[in-house]
């Protein structure tokens, strides 16, 4: 196993290292507000698309059409506390 690692160290690392390092050097330079913004943007983008789903798709299988059963309404209720956490902690 040591030989395999040595081969990888000699051949794979020099190949990938410049790309990985340049990627990480960009990341490392970012100021902390950008980290927060990136995480919050990911949270928002990863969830708000659900608001645009059709009502029929979201309510399929629901025993009734009560307002609270519309799962699209659950998404902002779920998202807000997570956003607050990543904005302020």
């Amino acid at each position: 196993m040591e030989k395999i690692t040595l081969i990888l160290e000699q051949n794979l690392v020099p190949l990938l290292k410049p790309a990985v390092d340049s990627f990480h050097s960009v990341i490392d330079q970012l100021p902390s507000p950008v980290w927060r913004f990136s995480i919050c943007a990911y949270l928002v983008m990863g969830t708000v698309w659900a608001l645009f789903l059709s009502r029929d798709y979201v309510l399929l299988g629901s025993p009734d059409q009560a307002r609270w059963r519309d799962l699209r309404l659950w998404v902002p209720v779920l998202l807000v506390p997570y956003l607050l956490i990543y904005l302020f902690i």
């Binding site: 990136s38 990863g46 969830t47 799962l71 997570y82």
Partner: protein
């Protein structure tokens, strides 16, 4: 190992015995509803969303997490909370609205089953073996960890602790199947939240409140200045840099975990309706908000109270021994048992389902040319559940001597996460993905994550668990590249699957009928076909 003197008073013992008795009674009550293997494995598709949501959360947080999660918070601080916060949203929203309806309508029972139908038996076998290995080793590890905890805090002999857990979990899981597992999980979540909340409240009371805790820890020195930061710079020596958290955990690992974990899939497929299945994931994501508060903050409180602990994993046992009054100790131990049993029952039920669905049923079809008899399947499922938990009980004491087995399984499992997600996403959303592409993507993806993990220190500047496990690097872990490895292996697998699929013939319409998202969710003819297939099963 030295056994400690028990801190339990008679009232504590009564609380624990009453709790364990209630769990057994629930298992017995649910046994009367189990008439077929479908009732056992999928609870007869009768579960409400709130029970599944609670069960998903509590299965995810086991006794190990209560001890080692608090230990990690003691050592690394609040950044550990990302695993529950960034690890839940948006992954659980995506799973709720994309993967849950897909699994629900396509009528599959396990992830290996879906990947097998989509990409062929080789991928199914590959996935089933790795999941089974992971689930079984985790069962033994959980039993051993709980034995160590009970021995340290109560003085209970290891063997007695292991077999007590085997007996209680085995009985209610064998009798009631998934329904008993989910309903006891829901009860266990309530107990766990009350017990962990009591421990947190008492710890903060002892310190003098939140601000005193922050002040005490911040005054301990520069090495603790990141302890209350959720996001940590990539330049700081930490296993949890913010970029790794976002790319590795947020985008890949959490989505892979919730979309491919058998314990999660099985629960949502046991829902009484597709709406309940979707709602359960959103409820679980909401409940996960509380987990870091209840599980990690006691670790920080222990740091403020007992900063000299050599082993951070002793943080919770120390709080339990020092702070809990009679009565509350029983409640917290019930919470610990709850966390332990809810994870053990989930892994047990999932392992049995994979063996039956991906091993026994296909093998019987190949050998005899027909489906196995359902009553035979139910009997076999129950026997297998008993055999697996007893085997895990026998294996548990050896985990101490072969700790590397656990490390190896965890590491090997983490190597599969990125490639599995890549193959799953393309299989679900891209008609052109074919068997060759899927197999190559999975195989080369795992190879890629293995190579990246082996050269983790040179490439990412952190020592890999895999290198440590292989035994040729003994420096203490300054970090773990698994977050970066998962992300880049995911990207690599996506590329390989796309390229190989495009270079080989596309799958026929018949091969992918009912297995691609657009068809399963929108095409009425396919939906009718799937409904008939599910009813005939």
């Amino acid at each position: 190992m030295e056994a400690a003197e028990s801190i339990l008073t008679p009232i504590d013992t009564i609380i624990i015995v009453a709790y364990l008795g209630a769990v057994l009674v629930l298992g017995y009550l649910f046994s009367r509803y189990v008439k077929s293997s479908g009732d056992f494995i999928l609870a007869g598709k009768s579960l409400p969303f709130w029970a599944i949501g609670m069960s998903v959360v509590v299965s995810d947080i086991g006794a190990i997490d209560m001890v080692s999660g608090a230990g990690a918070a003691y050592k690394y601080g609040l950044a550990q909370a990302n695993f529950d916060w960034l690890g839940s949203v948006p992954a659980m929203v995506i799973v709720a609205f994309v993967f849950v309806p897909f699994y629900w309508r396509s009528g599959v029972c396990t992830l290996p089953e879906f990947l097998g139908r989509r990409y062929g038996p080789a991928v199914r076998f590959f996935q089933a073996v790795i999941w089974l290995g992971f689930l079984l080793s985790m069962l033994a590890v959980m039993l051993w960890t709980s034995a160590v905890f009970l021995n340290t805090v109560l003085g209970m002999p290891n063997q007695a602790a292991i077999w007590l857990t085997v007996f209680v979990v085995g009985i209610y899981t064998i009798l009631g199947g998934l329904a008993a597992v989910v309903v006891t999980d829901a009860m266990q979540m309530v107990i766990m939240f009350i017990g962990a909340g009591a421990l947190l409240g008492l710890s903060l009371w002892e310190i003098g409140g939140w601000s005193d805790m922050v002040q005490t820890i911040s005054a301990m020195g520069p090495q603790f200045e990141q302890h209350f930061n959720l996001l940590i710079s990539s330049q700081v020596d930490t296993p949890y840099p913010w970029s790794g958290m976002l790319m590795g955990l947020g985008i890949v690992l959490s989505t892979a975990y919730f979309s491919s974990n058998q314990a999660v899939i099985q629960r949502v497929l046991g829902a009484r309706s597709e709406w309940d299945a979707k709602a359960s994931m959103l409820l679980a994501a909401f409940l996960k908000l509380l987990i870091p508060v209840l599980v990690l903050l006691p670790g920080l409180a222990a740091l403020a109270l007992y900063p000299e602990l050599e082993d951070p994993d002793k943080a919770v046992p120390k709080l339990v021994r020092e702070l809990l009054p009679p009565g509350l100790a029983g409640l917290v131990f019930a919470a610990f048992f709850a966390a332990l049993m809810s994870s053990v029952d989930s892994y047990l039920n999932s392992a049995t389902t994979i063996i039956i669905s991906d091993g026994y049923k296909p093998a019987t079809r190949v050998l005899s040319g027909k489906d196995p008899d359902d009553r035979h399947c139910l009997l076999l499922t129950r026997v297998l559940t008993g055999v697996l938990i007893v085997a895990a009980g026998f294996l548990a004491p050896y985990i101490d001597q072969f700790e590397t087995i656990y490390t190896a399984m965890q590491t090997l499992f983490s190597l599969f996460q990125g490639p599995t997600l890549a193959v799953l996403v393309l299989g679900v959303f891209w008609r052109r993905a074919n068997a060759w592409g899927g197999f190559a993507g999975l195989l080369l993806g795992v190879l890629c994550s293995t190579c990246l993990s082996l050269v983790g220190e040179s490439l990412f500047g952190v020592v890999s668990t895999l290198e440590e496990w292989m035994g040729f690097r003994y420096e203490p872990l300054s970090g773990n590249p698994f977050l970066y490895v998962a992300f880049w292996a995911f990207v690599f697998s996506l590329i390989v699957t796309v390229v190989v699929s495009l270079l080989t013939p596309p799958p026929s319409k018949n091969q992918i009928r009912g297995l691609v998202f657009g068809e399963v969710v929108r095409d009425e003819a396919t939906q009718t076909l799937l409904k008939e297939r599910i009813q005939s099963n």
